[in-house]
Amino acid sequence: MFAQTTLATPDVSWLAIAPEITLGLGAAIVLLVEVQFLPPIRRLGALVGGILAVAFGFSVWQWIRVDELLTTTDSAEFLAGFLPFGEMIVMDHGSVLARFALLTVAALGIVSGWQLFERLGRRGAEALALVLLATSGFTLMASSVHLMMMFLGLEVGSIALYILAGITRDRISSDEAAIKYFLLGSVASAVFVYGVALVFAATGELSLLDARSFLSGTIVTRPAVLLIGMAMLVVGLGFKISAAPFHSWAPDVYQGAPAGIVGYMAAAAKIGGFAALIRVLHTAFPSLLAEWAPLIAGIATLSMVGGGILALVQDDVRRLLAYSGVTHAGFILMGMVGGGVGAPEIWFYLAVYTLQLVGAFGVVAVVAGATGGPTPIAAFRGLGRTQPMLAVAFGVLLLGMGGLPLTSGFVAKFGVFQTAWQAGFEWLVVVAVLASVVGFAFYLRVIVAMYMHDEADDAVPAPTMPSRTVVALTAIVTVVLGLLPAPLLELTARAIPL
């Protein structure tokens, strides 16, 4: 009786989503194992480590596969592998890079914040699962070439982060962080999806590629809807990357959320947000570059200057890092004003910066101590004498964020500066170089505290082995990439989006 309609199955490329599947299943497994066996949290940690490793392995495989695809002549095979699932997501170097970055950040974040997970006890399992899920969400967001897909990924990531922000119950400020993050975040995503709707209304397309071809094909006589939609997309993502004036959540959340997880939260949101921003603006609206480039430049300026000035007067290192994150959002946005050509520099900057971020928050977590209490700059006094190794690493990381030559931060800054200059935004570069000087000003305040003041009253606990390793690792990478950036640069150089 029922009319049999045959559905045309889309090209399915399991490889393209293998990491996400791993993560998703992994999360489920973690939860189930926890419920079933109540294992010690360490076991779960090992398990999560394994999951991340597997996911990373898949990503590497993807990378290789992408290289192959790019060499194939068979267009069908190419499309099937490159744009699987009805062109919902793309498997290109950019998306794989995003996976590398996010997985690394997740691993390091968990390790450096391990104390927290141990303290969470049974809730630790949920926390771990949520980290995995958030990661998968952001990877999807980064690899999607379809607005709704992007929205879903964004939500998966964000909602997980809202929960993580409020997951610890020992501190009131954790609640505040969670609710602020959640309310503002959901408004932002509402704005984003409204933008999706408007773009859909204006172009009739949700797929970025189709939208581009539509826009390149037709002259939009009444672009109001399209433009408003675009603005809303930019704003929605601007919130995720905490660019001024959409940054206001960042300081409070960084300060309120448990120290152990902030590093990951900040880094993951930035990676996903920027990956999406590149895709939306470059893949869908290259024809409107002239319109949105100035807008991006404006946001960048506001972020660099405003963030810098506010960071100058912070007393809590977490807030300081939050505002510095705002300035960094501004710097990274500079790489976008030239369109897609800046993508490699953006990716380099993201990789470098997020590593430093995680490392820095690793230190913060140590100083915050088990309770994840407040971390005023005063708490870092005399760290150079009490915890020399920690202090040196932190100093390196801070100077790296400041963009001091011989650190990776400098190379990264140089990259985005030159793309902006190439794009004809000389004034933006001038603003940026001056802003980076302001940057030094507030990073130095911490260094001053560490090296030029006497010890604080309550001694800083010795860092645990895991966090020690993470901090050291990130610091070393910062220096090494500052001396020999070429390998990573050659990697990111391939990440030109469609």
């Binding site: 004036p245 300081p251 807008l295 506010l310």
Partner: protein, 632 residues
């Protein structure tokens, strides 16, 4: 041996002496250190003498320039020696007088804890002075020029624990520097126009390269420099203070040698001044005025060394008068004779001070004649010599200068009159000094037991006395030995000469000798009488005398006009401008940022709904921007 080797040694020997004494002087100690130093400079006297034989014989006319090594080739500066009669003469004077003063100093500095160091400086000075006179280019000349200044600084403030001495040394150096400023600028011009600083490169082409304008400029700038070194108006103020130094220093540096450097430079640059008569006249005028000015001050001084100091200034004025008018031989001639008798005077004064246990106030002396006969006799001779007593050295040289001035005529005849008056004053105050010190009855405090100085000090006095008597004979109107000797050095220069003819000579001589005798008579008449007479005599001049006594209060004037305002100015610059304004601005920038930071913190009020407002506001801005740019 040929000068190429010997002449460099003239400089090298005392220099090595200085270096040696610097490191080992303390070890070998007194008096050997002194004898070593004396030996060093004595050696270079001999070397100089040997090398200048040819000039005296007249076999080698122009001498030669000896290239040692490159210094600043970009501006034609090298370590090169110009060995010509002028240099030779200066060398002999410097080393000759220098040797005698070294000997004297051995006795004078006896017992000083830094005995050896003193001779180190003396030798260093000798080397520097010789560098100055032997220099083959202006750069090297300037090298010596500055080094003698340095040595004079070291020697004036030799007794540095005396604040006055330290201050005097500093003052001397800085005032000299002001002069050097002029000299340096002069050198800049020279280099700019000649492209080199080497004498040979300059003097041949002076005529073709220089216009009167530039020549005058250079000349005046050199005059400024010379005025600094040779203590002429307006820069003479350091010399009286320089008397803080040990007396041998005053004799050597501030009477015989260093202060004559200015005269030497003018003579050396004759070919430049030739292009600039105005500059020459300026030199002469400055000289004449200084002569009178200083002489008038000397009249009223009661410090035995101050009298000599102002007298030196005044005599240097004579030399300037001469060289300014082009009477180079006359100038140099007087330079030489003056070196002898003024050195003698200073040493004599030193001997007196020595014998009087460091008493310098002439009012506390008198009647020393019988206690220190040698000193008295020798100083008497010197006094007569400087007063231009016939047939003594001063007579010949001074008369030649006056004669030159007379001959030049025109404005110069005014200068001649000034010179004449000065001659009279000189005679007066010198006689006054001698009488106050040696004649009359003793006025010294009890406890003081004046005694003749040891042989080592008196011998130099005697030698110098002989020279003061006889040195004049090298250049008399009847036998112009010095003139012939120096001529090669001034080849191509139109030199001013005294009028020819014995009659004229006798007439002028008579006039000046008359002036001198008047002075002597007056001095003798007043100051052999008891004190009341002097005071009546002095009060007779009223305010004028006090003005002289206080040296016209020029120091106070400079202090009020230059030093204090300068200090004020730099204080304002440092504490009213640099710190509050410039640095204030810098810190202001920093404060601006932090301030704006603190102010903008209110935006981050912590109220989520405020954040919402910010968010929505941003959103609207973005929308509106895109709509506007997108042309919707």
């Amino acid at each position: 041996m040929s000068p190429e080797i010997l002449v460099p040694l003239v400089i090298a020997v005392p220099l090595l002496g200085a270096v040696f004494l610097h490191f080992l002087g303390r070890r070998i100690g007194e008096p050997l250190a002194g004898w070593l130093a004396t030996g060093a400079i004595g050696t270079s006297f001999l070397l100089g003498a040997i090398s200048s034989v040819d000039f005296i014989r007249g076999t080698s006319e122009h001498g030669e320039s000896i290239m040692l090594w490159d210094w600043m080739p970009a501006i034609g500066a090298a370590f090169e020696i110009k060995w010509d009669p002028l240099a030779a003469l200066m060398t002999l004077v410097v080393t000759g007088v220098g040797t005698l003063i070294h000997v004297f100093a051995i006795g004078y500095m006896h017992g000083d804890e830094r005995f050896a160091r003193f001779f180190t400086y003396l030798n260093l000075f000798a080397a520097s002075m010789l560098t100055l006179v032997l220099a083959g280019n202006y750069a090297m000349l300037f090298l010596g020029w500055e080094l003698v200044g340095l040595c004079s600084y070291l020697l004036i403030s030799f007794w540095y624990t005396k604040p006055s001495a330290a201050a005097a040394g500093k003052k001397a150096f800085i005032v000299n520097r002001i002069g050097d400023l002029g000299f340096m600028i002069g050198l800049m011009l020279v280099f700019f126009h000649f492209g080199t600083l080497s004498f040979d490169g300059i003097f041949e082409r002076a005529g073709e390269v220089l216009t009167t304008g530039t020549a005058t400029a250079i000349g005046l700038l050199f005059l400024l420099g010379a005025a600094g070194k040779s203590a002429q108006i307006p820069l003479y103020v350091w010399l009286p203070d320089a008397m803080e130094g040990p007396t041998p220093v005053s004799a050597l540096i501030h009477a015989a040698t260093m202060v004559t450097a200015g005269v030497y430079v003018v003579a050396r640059s004759a070919s430049i001044f030739q292009e600039a008569p105005a500059a020459g006249m300026a030199v002469a005028t400055v000289g004449a005025l200084t002569a009178l000015w200083a002489a008038s001050i000397a009249i009223a001084q009661t410090d035995i060394k101050k009298v000599l100091a102002y007298s030196t200034v005044s005599q240097l004025g004579y030399m300037f008068l001469a060289v300014g008018l082009g009477g180079y031989v006359a100038g140099i001639f007087h330079l030489m004779t003056h070196a002898f008798f003024k050195a003698l005077l200073f040493l004599g004064a030193g001997s007196v001070i020595h014998g009087m246990a460091d008493e310098q106030d002439m009012q506390k002396m008198g009647g020393l004649r019988k206690h220190m006969p040698v000193t008295a006799a020798t100083m008497g001779i010197a006094t007569l010599a400087i007063s231009g007593f016939p047939l003594l050295s001063g007579f010949w040289s001074k008369d030649e200068i006056l004669a030159v001035a007379f001959e030049a005529g025109g404005f110069a005849s005014v200068l001649y009159v000034i010179g004449l008056v000065t001659a009279m004053l000189t005679a007066f105050y010198m006689t006054r000094q001698w009488v106050m010190v040696f004649a009359g009855d003793s006025r010294w405090d009890e406890g003081v037991h004046p005694h003749e100085s040891p042989r080592v000090m008196t011998v130099p006095l005697i030698v110098l006395a002989v020279l003061s008597v006889g040195a004049g004979l090298v250049n008399t109107p009847f036998r112009l030995g010095l003139e012939h000797f120096l001529e090669p050095a001034f080849e191509g220069i139109a030199m001013a000469h005294p009028p020819d003819g014995i009659g004229m000579f006798l007439l002028l001589a008579a006039v000046s000798v008359g002036a001198g005798l008047v002075g002597i008579a007056m001095g003798g008449f007043v100051y052999t009488r008891p004190r009341e007479v002097w005071t009546r005599f002095q009060t007779g001049f009223g305010r004028l005398w006090t003005a002289w006594e206080s040296a016209y209060r020029v120091d106070d004037l400079y202090g009020a006009a230059l030093v204090t305002p300068g200090r004020k100015a730099s204080e304002v610059a440092a504490f009213r401008f640099d710190l509050p304004i410039i640095d204030g601005l810098v810190n202001g920038v920093g404060r601006f940022f932090t301030e704006s930071g603190t102010r903008s913190r209110v935006i981050q009020s912590g109220y989520v709904r405020h954040y919402g407002v910010a968010f929505v506001g941003g959103l609207l801005l973005a929308v509106i921007w895109l709509l506007v740019v997108g042309g919707a």
